[in-house]
Amino acid sequence: MAWLDTIIQGILLGGLYALFAAGLSLVFGIMRLVNLAHGDLIVLAAFLILVLASVLGLNPFIAALVAMPLMFAIGWALQFFLLNRTLGTDILPPLLVTFGLSIVIQNGLLEGFTADSRRISVGGLESASLAIGPINVGVMPLLTLASAIAVIVGLNQLFYRTSLGRAFRATSDDPVTAGLMGIRPKRIFATATGIAMVVVTIAALYLGTRANFDPTIGPARLIYAFEAVIIGGLGSLWGTLAGGIVIGIAQTFGAAINPEWQILAGHLAFLLVLLVRPRGLFPRAVD
């Protein structure tokens, strides 16, 4: 039964990685921008939730709800005032500006919160578990996976059922023509990054409640998110969930063999997929 337990824990962990990846996937899908500061923005959101929860005495879930509009505003402004200037055919400016941003956020957080490990407490919910048949499943991991699925369903609805989603798709296909139809691409991009930051806030809630975090762990989250996106195939949010689950299962199996191999096993699974299916498991976009 041990292996079944390992697989289920892996799937649940995959939900967290899918949450990390959904925001990255959204921004890339709409404006072909890879944000190297994505992981650091998740950590920033986790600190924001921590501060809101401790200063205002809020329940972390409520704190996350309060953090969402704040993070939306941060994302909107970041895109509108900074990242929009870097978009173009040259890949250097967006990469180097977001890399610089990553270093700035990390060191800003280090200055503000020191390098101590933190954790957002959810009052006993961390240790609660449900018995499903012979296997015990943690409530928080289960909530994480459920949130990941909800986020992906929500984003897909937004994309294909709303006028904002139509504007996203039109701008993604051809910003100039979309502009002729009365869409302002710069504002559309800013809104997209804002929405990505709302997803980042949800990811941050689970990052901060499930394990310790400190200002330096952002880049590793970026890497997991990136691996999930590539494994799933560019442009497919359900693929991203599958990619997250592949990494999650590989990590829990690696850890089951030797705790030191957890992270390495996830990376090796990614390289293996890259070797046999360079365009990912469920490719859709042609990039």
Binding site: L36, I91, L92, F99, G100, I103, N107, G108, E111
Partner: protein
């Protein structure tokens, strides 16, 4: 008698400024080699740091600025080169100097399988992919118990002290082995920096360099005239891995203590290097030279402020990338038109009168 003129054009890259600079550079190099005669140990150590960072910056600039391969995972080759050197010295008992060279080759060999994976990813994905590779190499080497596993290990004192080259330098200057070590590593760093700049300059002036620039500016157009873009990029990637691995091994001969977290540090080996190149000016040979000087000055001024230092460096990098994407050197060159390492081909000469045996039938 008629004067017949035939065109006498010449393709040149040399300019007046670059010819003058070549003489100045030669004098500077002589002075730099003589530095151990008059400079103190701490000055030599600072120069060692500047020179090795310059080597890393030139290698990264070659990748990102010329081949369009934006890597944030070059620490893979620093760490691998350093670990290869440690393994060759500790486990195989080789002389550290030979180990440095072999470590460079080992890094280039590592680059063959990593290129195979990475070249499946384009643009920004190449960047993060290179980071994944660096993480894999770090995690794998942290499992190597003979070299200290996750906590790392030190070079045995006798391995460095008994180097024949060190005794030679020690005898030459009449100094103890630790001081002779600083002189030797400084000279090696100087040699490596000169060789790197020389080879990069030579590459850029060659036919291959022209192909590389064409690929960077428009891959499809370059391919249509017969430039093998993939081959060029792979060669640059392998060469940069060799140079970075050499520098990594040399840095860790001087440090004499290694751990996976330090040898594969993104901040030390990639963030600093990227900021050096961006601040100085990406896509020029002069850029990293200017950048490393600015970087050293900033570090000296701001070293006491801890994470504020990196924060400021990051902000400067962002501002430069947005408002002066060609860096400080780019601003200077734009105003003055001066190029110290010109690679642009210009037509010079022109019609030359032929006086005596002129004429097509003459």
């Amino acid at each position: 008698m008629t004067y017949v003129t035939i065109p006498h054009w010449k393709v040149e890259t040399r300019t007046k400024a670059s010819a003058t600079f070549a003489i100045v550079a030669a004098l500077l190099i002589l002075l730099a080699f003589a530095a151990p005669l008059f400079a103190s140990r701490s000055v030599l150590q600072d120069l060692f740091f500047i020179l090795t960072m310059l080597v890393l910056a030139q290698n990264w600039n070659l990748l990102a600025g010329y081949a369009g391969l934006v890597s944030v995972g070059q620490q893979a080759f620093i760490g691998f080169g350093a670990y290869a050197m440690f393994a060759l010295v500790i486990l195989a008992g080789l002389d550290p100097l030979i180990a440095i060279l072999l470590a460079g080759i080992a890094s280039a060999l590592l680059a063959i399988p990593t290129a195979f994976f990475l070249f499946r990813l384009q643009g920004a994905y190449f960047a993060i992919g290179s980071w994944v590779i660096a993480e894999v190499v770090r995690l794998a080497l942290a499992q190597w118990k003979a070299l200290g596993g996750g906590t790392g290990t030190s070079l045995p004192r006798e391995a460095t002290r008994d180097m024949p080259a060190l005794k030679l330098v020690g005898g030459l200057f009449g100094v103890k082995s630790s001081e002779a070590g600083d002189i030797l590593t400084y000279w090696l760093a100087l040699l490596l920096a000169i060789a790197t700049i020389g080879l990069v300059y030579r590459l850029l002036r060659s036919k291959q360099g022209l192909g590389l620039a064409a690929v960077r500016d428009n891959q499809e157009a370059a391919r249509s005239v017969g430039v093998d873009a993939r081959r060029m990029k792979t060669l640059v990637y392998l060469a940069a891995a060799f140079g970075t691995g050499l520098a990594g091994a040399l840095i860790y001969v001087q440090k004499a203590r290694i751990s996976p977290d330090a040898a594969f540090s993104v901040v030390d080996w990639t963030a600093y290097v990227i900021f050096i190149v961006v601040i100085g000016g990406i896509g020029t040979i002069e850029g990293p030279i200017v950048g490393v000087i600015v970087f050293y000055i900033l570090q000296t001024l701001l070293a006491d402020y801890g994470s504020w230092y990196l924060l400021i460096l990051g902000l400067i990098g962002i501002v430069i990338m947005l408002f002066a994407p060609r860096g400080l050197w780019g601003l200077f060159a734009e105003r003055t038109g001066i190029q110290l390492f010109p690679v642009r081909r210009r037509l010079t000469g022109g019609p030359v009168p032929l006086a005596k045996k002129g004429g097509p039938h003459g």
